[in-house]
Amino acid sequence: MAEEQKKEERKRRRHATEAAGKIGPMVKATIGGTVKAREEGKSIAYAFIVCSYDEIIRAMDIVPVWTENYAGICGAKRDATRFLERAESLNFSRSLCTYALCGLGFDQWREELGEMPPDAPWGGQAKPDFMLSSGQILCDPRNKWYQAVQQYMPDVPIYNVGLPWPLYEDDIDVADVEDYYIKYIVEELRGLIKFLERQTGRKMDWDRLSELVDLGERTWNLIWETYELRRAVPTPMGTGDAMNTMVPMVFMLGTQEGYDFFLELNKELKDKIARKEGVVKDEKYRLLWGGGLPSWFALTDFNYFNSKGAVFPVETTYRMIEPIYRLNIPDTNDPIERLAWRWIRYWTYWYDKARKRPGSEPDVERLIQYIEDYQIDGIVMHEAFSCRTWHLGLIWQLNQLKKIYKPIPVLRLGSNRQKKGEKRELPSLILESDIVDISSYSEVDTRNRIDAFIETLEQTKKNNR
């Protein structure tokens, strides 16, 4: 690795909260723990976050290796390029998901060597006993990645869990179709449990699973309440920190450690609010991170925004929860059914709201709600070139938002030279780079664009005074 890059690695992002500062060591310990678990003979699974099987694998004492997370770590440490290049040399196109490419390059190298690749970030990614793919409505790589890696470890079996949800349609109410969606997801999750029982030789402890689903639901409520504290002005926590606190949200769901983390964060945010202590001293602009995964190698860009007085009290990325009590989950004692209902009701949560506003759409409606709840001045998105899952439709969402939602009052000179009141849309910025592939990133260009955006925000504020 070039000396220059090593220096870059040492330039770490400043956290607003103490809780976020604890995440790095926590993730390092988790990754180290998977390598140790392998040595101890525990069952290890490659897994994806937000797949509704968190509590199931925890209840069966299976150690998850979150492969996207490991690729993100390689990206954040600016040490992903060698794995990406190895994947490319195996004939995987560099235009594919770079989380997957990084993982494929790493795994092929590890299997070829029979040990971890040299200087593997944080000790490396342990070889699994089995892999849990996920056929959702989005994310082709989650459906294909583990099948591709089987070429290098054909003895590792896969279970691919079907987890669809209905897309938003004009003529179809979710209520008309959700029964067969629920039935399917329940069958898929029961199939997963049978697979895990076969692989581990252990039976599911159903009482424990129910307890963990309870814990998962309480964690969702706690996270929602905690994140809602960020509405405060000045906001006590920004998206930069949320890109850390997503770890206990989606990598530790169904664990007491994950729940306790948010108890602590909740307290810390309340204390900060009481002291009127914000992310920055002089909060000038409140921004919504309205879509796109972050560039893990450039999280200091959030600090750059902060240096201009801009903060992100809210984001759509990795806010993968809604308060359980608002999801109207039907009464059932079956933990698998609860997981299935939670899944469907989460993904369709914004549908009813969208129907009430002509021209709206669930993703757009969510933006509007956050803009209003968090007193937002502008929107920033990130288009990662290698990920179609979360980065297609962002331009359209902004276009649609501009059409149907203009919250900023302005005075314009009419044709009769008379001033007339109008409303205009929020300023927005789409940054372009990648999640892992640093070759797509230019710090100078990115920051020039941020500077120009800040000028627009300033101008908008001046016009509005």
Partner: protein
């Protein structure tokens, strides 16, 4: 087309060049047209409702402009082109749009299509990713939802009888397409890959009865060829996703090869599998679209003890085509940003290597701008096969 004064082949050529010509004519006569993308939309249901299923095609000669104001450029370039020409009102005779859960590029842009085209009807069909029993039951329920939804738009109930009749007609169409492929088996083939691509592309935009008649006439005409109008040359199979233009076929054939087979969406992937006749028509359609169509977006569970057995199970259909059409080399041709196929490239190559089949892997934009670069690589590949 190679033959002079060939009325039927000129008609096909005309339909190809003025894409949508017949659909426009029919629209003027009161026929409603439903646009769709991808081989995973059950066209039998659209035909059974009395609509003309019209497969949207991109345009490799048309720069993507308007589409890029609405969509990110990181999407599949084929889909972007389809969206771009649709936005430019090229298919403004369509009254509806049906998209399937094929890949992220299609799924993630469904709302963008729906709002931007603002058609009276739209529907998304959610295919599961696996072919297990529960997935099949789910997909049958999804197809029933589509049947009801389209029936509401048509103002009629789509009966089992309507579906059975439509299934017969579309199966007949597939039989005729297969008969066309028979003409490629001789060496040199009696029909070129460019001609077949033209005919099949056109066939997917006509009412199925008309397509059947057209295919009959084309078959009759081509069977009159006593001698192949082409020279003996390396016999190439194109493997990949959706190639809906003849430029790539022409490029290979102009470089000194005969394209004799394919495993493409507008090709054997779609035309080979037929819907079972008899039984519940929705069940048999579910089986065709989820299981029989071998698209990498549908996950196949590992089969057998060895990886080679798994490869055979996943790509054996390509191997069968290689044997059946006596193929000398394979060009694996994909568009950039194609995750479902892209993650399969090393496995596909490993399978073809196991057959000792020369392979050229090309990743391309959806544009004729890359033809010079492609030509060089194709010529080098053909020289390698020749030597």
């Amino acid at each position: 087309m190679n033959e002079k004064d060939s009325d039927i082949l000129s008609k096909v050529e005309n339909y190809y060049q003025d894409y949508g010509l017949r659909a426009r004519e029919l629209k003027d006569q009161g026929q409603k047209v439903i646009a769709y993308l991808c081989s995973l939309v059950p066209v039998e249901i659209i035909s059974a409702a009395g609509f003309l299923p019209f497969r949207i095609r991109g345009d490799v000669h048309e720069p993507i402009t308007k589409g890029d104001t609405q969509l990110e450029t990181i999407a599949c370039p084929f889909m972007r082109s389809c969206f771009d020409v649709s936005l430019k009102r090229r298919y403004d005779f369509c009254e509806g749009l049906v998209l399937p859960h094929a890949c992220d590029s299609i799924t993630r842009t469904y709302s963008v299509w729906r709002y931007s085209l603002d058609l009276p009807y739209s529907h998304f069909i959610n295919l599961p990713h696996t072919v297990r029993g529960p997935s099949m039951d789910f997909f049958k329920a999804e197809l029933e939802t589509f049947r009801k939804s389209l029936g509401r738009f048509a103002g009629k109930e789509i009966s089992d009888g309507d579906l059975a009749e439509s299934i017969d007609l579309h199966n007949e169409n597939r039989n005729k397409a297969r008969a066309l492929y028979e003409l490629r088996k001789s060496d040199p083939p009696l029909v070129s890959g460019t001609e077949i691509a033209t005919i099949l592309t056109v066939g997917m935009r006509l009412p199925v009865k008309e397509a059947n008649n057209l295919f009959d006439e084309v078959l009759e005409k081509l069977k009159q060829r006593k001698e192949a109008p082409f020279k003996k040359a390396p016999r190439i199979l194109i493997d990949g996703a959706c190639v809906d233009n003849i430029d790539f076929f022409k490029l290979i054939e102009d470089s000194g090869a005969n394209v004799v087979a394919d495993s493409l969406c507008i090709g054997t992937r779609d035309y080979w599998p037929k819907t079972e006749v008899g039984g519940n028509p929705v069940d048999t359609l579910a089986h065709r679209y989820l299981d029989k169509i071998n698209c990498p977006r549908t996950y196949r569970e590992k089969v057998g003890e060895t990886y080679q057995e798994d490869l055979e199970s996943r790509f054996g259909d390509v191997g069968s085509l290689i044997k059946e059409f006596n193929v000398d080399g394979v060009i694996l041709y994909l568009y950039k940003y194609c995750d479902p196929f892209g993650f399969e490239v090393p496995a596909r190559k490993a399978y073809l290597d196991s057959l000792k089949m020369p392979v050229l892997y090309l990743e391309d934009e959806y544009s004729t701008g890359t033809i010079g670069r492609l030509r060089t690589r194709i010529q080098a590949f053909l020289e390698m096969i020749g030597s």
